[in-house]
């Protein structure tokens, strides 16, 4: 076990994979000489050289597409998209090309590429640089989507993503980069497997990314004996772990950093409902952000994401009432 920041865990995962497999390469904007806008590729250029670690022009479509081609010809490219929103100019290469190339080659090809993107709110980057956007990648057979929630998953999930033979989208909540955590370098995480971070009997709380910490604290202050699951992989998600937990607790809340309408949590709630309805003691529900663009002001942005207090309130309320709690903005009569 060693303590490191999330950004260092990412660097370590990249470096360890590059040492283990000479076909792994890294490119993106300012990832080489500058070692990454968020310092997530520190030391890589020095150790692995300018063939395998490259700076790119500001051309997300171009270099994401280059990763698709390189992956089909034997490399394992890891590309960095500085802010996940920038995939709005490159989505085609990831979901329309990379995700379908194996299907369209009758199984002759694989596309072992990783797209890393920082995401999420909390740092005052404004509405074009603060979303999570899992929905852009959902409903894409052929593409895997994971999100890291701490240093351990940053390290282990990143290694799993690079080792994976298919395209993997790795979402990195930007606000976590500077956070420290214990990392067991030998611990392996499998894509498609959720992490049970706390066992509990009364409630199942499914969360992802930066919301995992919020959910953990909320459970603590709420006093609810909840099982906390870090979904880790959004596609394909771990039905078994989640559904087994809900069968046990009879209750499900999803805590997500995504708008109330259209976020990834709806998939979890809908599936749990359809598959294990008879086990439910109360309606599964989502605790989300409101349906608004991410506001800049710190006062507003801190309320944009679910807060510890609000998550705790909702867990306690529903445990008592068996009803889906109102959102904080409904309570405050907003919108």
């Amino acid at each position: 076990m060693s303590a490191m920041r999330v950004r260092q865990a990412i660097v370590s995962a990249l470096a360890d994979e590059m040492r283990a497999d000479s076909s792994v390469m890294v490119f993106g904007e300012d990832v080489a000489v500058a070692e990454g806008p968020f310092k997530t590729s520190e030391g890589l250029l020095a150790e692995f050289g300018s063939l395998r670690v490259r700076d790119t022009p500001i051309s997300e479509m171009g270099f994401t597409g280059a990763a698709v081609g390189a992956a089909m010809l034997g490399m394992k490219p890891v590309v960095e998209i500085m802010f996940v929103e920038f995939l709005g100019v490159a989505l085609d290469q990831l979901v329309t090309e990379a995700a379908k190339m194996r299907y369209l080659s009758n199984g002759a090809l694989s596309v072992p590429m990783v797209v890393r993107a920082s995401c999420g709110s909390g740092l005052g980057f404004g509405s074009q640089h603060s979303q999570t956007l899992e929905n852009w990648f959902a409903a894409t057979p052929g593409l895997k989507v994971v999100s890291i929630s701490d240093a351990q998953s940053a390290y282990s999930l990143m290694r799993a993503a690079i080792q994976d033979p298919d395209p993997v989208m790795v979402l990195e909540p930007r606000i976590l980069y500077a956070e420290r955590g214990e990392v067991d370098l030998a611990l392996q995480m499998e894509i498609g497997k959720a992490r049970v971070l706390r066992e509990g009997k009364e409630f199942t709380v499914v969360s992802l990314g930066q919301m995992v910490n919020v959910a953990r604290e909320a459970i603590a202050v709420s006093g609810v004996d909840a099982e906390l699951i870090d979904l880790a992989t959004v596609v394909p998600w771990d039905r078994q772990t989640v559904l087994n937990s809900v069968k046990k607790t009879g209750r499900l809340a999803v805590v997500e950093e995504a708008p109330q309408s259209g976020g990834w949590g709806s998939e979890i709630v809908a599936t749990a409902t359809s598959q294990i309805f008879s086990h439910l003691k109360a309606a599964p529900f989502r605790i989300t952000t409101p349906d608004v663009p991410v506001p800049y002001s710190g006062v507003l942005e801190s309320r944009y994401v679910p807060t510890v207090e609000d998550v705790a309130r909702q867990l306690k309320e529903s445990l008592v009432s068996n009803q889906t709690p109102k959102t904080w903005w409904e309570l405050e009569g907003l919108k």
Binding site: P57, G65, E97, G107, S110
Partner: protein, 333 residues
Amino acid sequence: MSSALNRREVVQQDEIAQFERMVEIREFEEQINGLFASGEIRGTTHLCLGQEALSVGLAAELRPTDIVMATYRGHGIALSLGLTPESVLGEIMGKTIGCCGGVGGSMHLCDMSVGLLPTSAIVGGGIPIAAGAALAFQTKGTDSVSVSVFGDGATNIGAFHEGLNLAAIWNLPVIFICDNNIYGEYSRIQTTTPIEDLHLRAESYNMPHFSLDGMDIHAVRKGVKEAVDRARNGGGPTLIEAKTYRFAGHSRADQALYRPVGELELWQTRDPIKVTQEDLIARGVFTAEQAEKIKTEMKSTIEGVVATCKASSEPTLASMFENIWTPKKVAHV
């Protein structure tokens, strides 16, 4: 039914073999037209009638280990690189004999044994991908090259700009071939593009560039060879503009009534098959009789291919669920 690799060797043998392949493509495309008319093929298709010299000339100059990333207008390139008419027509008919087992269709042809990546149905989508294949070659230190084939209309999309800029700044072994057939769907080039000589756009990337006569297989081979040699020897990318013409409409439905009167006829006087045939006869490579014999034989060959493909089985429901994820522990190509 010879393998794709054998067929590739054949097209690299001699001028007669190349003439034969051009005739094969011509016959093949004519058959496709009929099969659509008779409702035996669904969906859409994009014929390359009149552009046979470009694909055959290209195939003649590349190694099977080189990579080609092409488009929905890919029948001719697939056949030229070596894919069998059965694997191409079978795919277009959605049969198991097809190169993608029938799940891909006319716009998605692939055979890695001869370096054909799955053709892309997204205009410009293949350009950065081809650069990426070249990136793999450069990083691994092989002397393979990558070729990206796209149309005139594709030079107006962002992926073209980003792909060429990236290839230039990284000095990648890739050849960009713009097949300028003067039309993007139903729009003639001057309505969408402020310049006529598209190869000049390479100046924005400080990249070598030239145009060539895409109706003349000699010109195609010469130009491709120059660019391939440069790329193989570390000289980086080239943009080639091949001046060609689309004898058919854009796709299945299109009658191409928007063409100026006489334009088609003018280009038909430079029909690559006609031109090559006359040249080979003039140079005594074969006689007019031999040429006609090749054509009539090819006609029946392709008819045989049609019969074979009609007889091929429909894919099973199970095949719809295959080849989405790579089985763990199975290394990729």
